[in-house]
Amino acid sequence: MNAAVPGARPAGSLATAWRLAPLFARRRDGDRLATGLPVVSFAVVTALLTLVLGGAQAFFRWDDDLASTYESLAVIACVLLLVPLSTVGASAARLAARRRDERLASLRLLGATTGTVTALTVLEAAVTALLGSLLGLVLYAATAPLVGLLHFRGAAIGSQMWVPWWWLPLVVAGVTLLAAASAVAGLRAVVVTPLGVRTRQRAGTAHWVRVVVAVVVLVVGLGLTQALGLLGQLGGIVAVIAALAAAFGGMLLALDALGPWFVRVRARRQAKRAQTVPRLLAARMILEDPKTAWRQVSGVAMTSFVGVFGAVGLAMAAVSDDASMPADERWLMHDISTGVLVTVAGSFLMVACSVGINQAAATLDRAAVHVSLDRLGVPRTVMAEAARRAVMSALWMVAGGSALCAAVLLFPLVGFAIFVQPVAIVTALAVFAAGFLAVRGAAALCTRLVPGILARPERVL
């Protein structure tokens, strides 16, 4: 039995993690992409968040009759961007956990407590987010003048894009805390044992009950949008916007409920019909965990959904561009379109970051599979194609389903837009094309991790 060191007291988890952190901070070969991605992602997220806050606080400086409408829209845009922000944080935490897996497992083997491992991972996620958010502020400083060129209410936002200086440390602290919180949530999805880190097995939850719930939400959302006229008469434009926001949020929830179920059903069909190895592997990868397959690309659901709204908004703005309308109302219609498109562009960047990180984490998660296939002589192009197909197949499902849901929700307006304003269709198609390219690009980027995995197969077998 080891004798206790005289006078020594057992260290707390946080203190231990603090002492170990510098050892873990050393860069490892082949880890550059895995290390850099979360930092870059948090930088983009911080820049976007600060830009949105800058734009939002510009709206809050107005105090006329339409001020509350602009304030509501700014809040909706912020909420829309907070959702992918938290997803990016959780993804970054998961990636960090996978990147450290052997050393975390070794620590557990040496007797480190779950608390120490958790503290270490959360600390790393927080430091990553801190570095990323500081970089993000630089990015904000570089892009704010460009975004300031956007016109709202007939004038460029200009210097109003600059948030008060004391907001900046709050943004950095907020992003860092959110990343730390997401890291805790992300760690719940993996089990760090002395024998390794493994993904926690969860029962398949892609149940048909989700379909029922989603249909109910869809019907309620449809009801709300059909009653917009009545709501407008009763509560004015604020009530209309609140109803639209409720319908919008409900649809997103419905999408999230339906997504995994549809992804599983479609993947099952694809697995039965697959005639090539990449197709078979892709379908089976999705079936392994439809919920994860959905979540990996679910950010695009929101983007596609918002894209259809944006396209219809553009069409409505063009149609309502009538000289007889009061200037304020004309500006409002234009500004809604601009705001939606700006939010969509922001969402794209978030989605690209999220997919990049998720794919990097998934590639590391599936390192053993890559090694297995390589040893069997499976060409690396087959592996890359299977991974890409697994993402893109789910993406088709997600983007198509979301756009369809949005089109159903806005059915009369979409029909109107198609006939009156073909530009709306072009915008929608551009939104989809950009989303697909962003995801494909992010997925392709992560295939660069594979050679590193294959060069050191003993790490994963």
Binding site: Q275, V277, L376
Partner: protein
């Protein structure tokens, strides 16, 4: 007898390694034989298998494989060429099986044929026949998690043979199995030898080595013993029954 596989001066240095993992190894493997490679941990036996199979490219030396199309210098092939050789000419049964968890037993075997361009229906028919032959009839649609260790190794053995590979490499194929299951798995591998295939097994297990026709012992990356048995693989006939 003409060698199916011939290694000359096979040397392997890992980056940062003080001593070579393999040090000028010469080896000839005749077709239709079973060869056990033994040695202590770190002796270089798995590295030797990986170099012979084209998984690793040796630092120096040559590996010549007598493929159906003529002799192939394995060590000089590029990554794609070695991958093609592994896919089309060689079979693998490793300790972990290297099977794909997402796929069913049938699909794991059929994938090897599909990679050669065989239509899925035909590939699955052939795969199903092998699974039945190896005692896994009725388990074709099971996922790996639903199979025992021995059953998973049978799937790996089926996959190694379904392509018609003439040379099978096995790395500790019984390492994770109980003794009874180990005997069954080894019987199946040796039955492949009786059917005309060649088997190279890396093992710690003297019982496994004893049943092979020849045992090569490595120490510090060098061959220190190479013994052929007069009456090799006593239970091969049993395995063939």
């Amino acid at each position: 007898m003409t060698s199916l596989l011939r290694a000359r001066g096979l040397t392997m240095h890992y980056p940062g390694g003080a001593a070579p993992a393999l040090d000028a190894v010469d080896l000839d493997i005749a077709p239709g034989t079973s060869v056990a490679i033994m040695g202590a941990s770190g002796s270089g036996k798995t590295t030797l298998l990986h170099c012979l199979a084209g998984i690793l490219r040796p630092t120096a030396g040559s590996v010549t494989f007598a493929s159906g199309a003529g002799p192939v210098e394995v060590a000089s092939l590029d990554d794609d060429g070695r991958a093609r050789l592994r896919r089309e000419e060689l079979g693998f049964v490793f300790q972990q099986g290297l099977l794909l968890n997402e796929l069913t037993a049938l699909e794991n075997v059929a994938v090897a044929r599909m990679l050669a361009g065989v239509p899925r229906a035909q590939a699955e028919t052939e795969a199903g026949q092998w699974l039945v032959h190896l005692g896994l009839g009725g388990m074709e649609q099971r996922r790996l998690g639903e199979l025992s260790g021995g059953q998973a190794q049978r799937v790996a053995i089926a996959r190694a043979q379904v392509t018609g590979a003439r040379l099978i490499f096995a790395d500790e194929p019984t390492g994770a199995l109980d003794s009874a299951t180990s005997v069954e798995v080894l019987d199946l591998l040796l039955a492949a030898v009786v059917a005309g295939r060649t088997l190279v097994v890396v093992t710690h297990d003297a019982d496994v080595a004893r049943r092979c026709g020849r045992t090569v012992v490595l120490r510090d990356g060098r061959v220190v013993s190479d013994t052929a048995r007069v009456a090799p693989a006593a239970s091969v006939q049993e395995a063939a029954r």
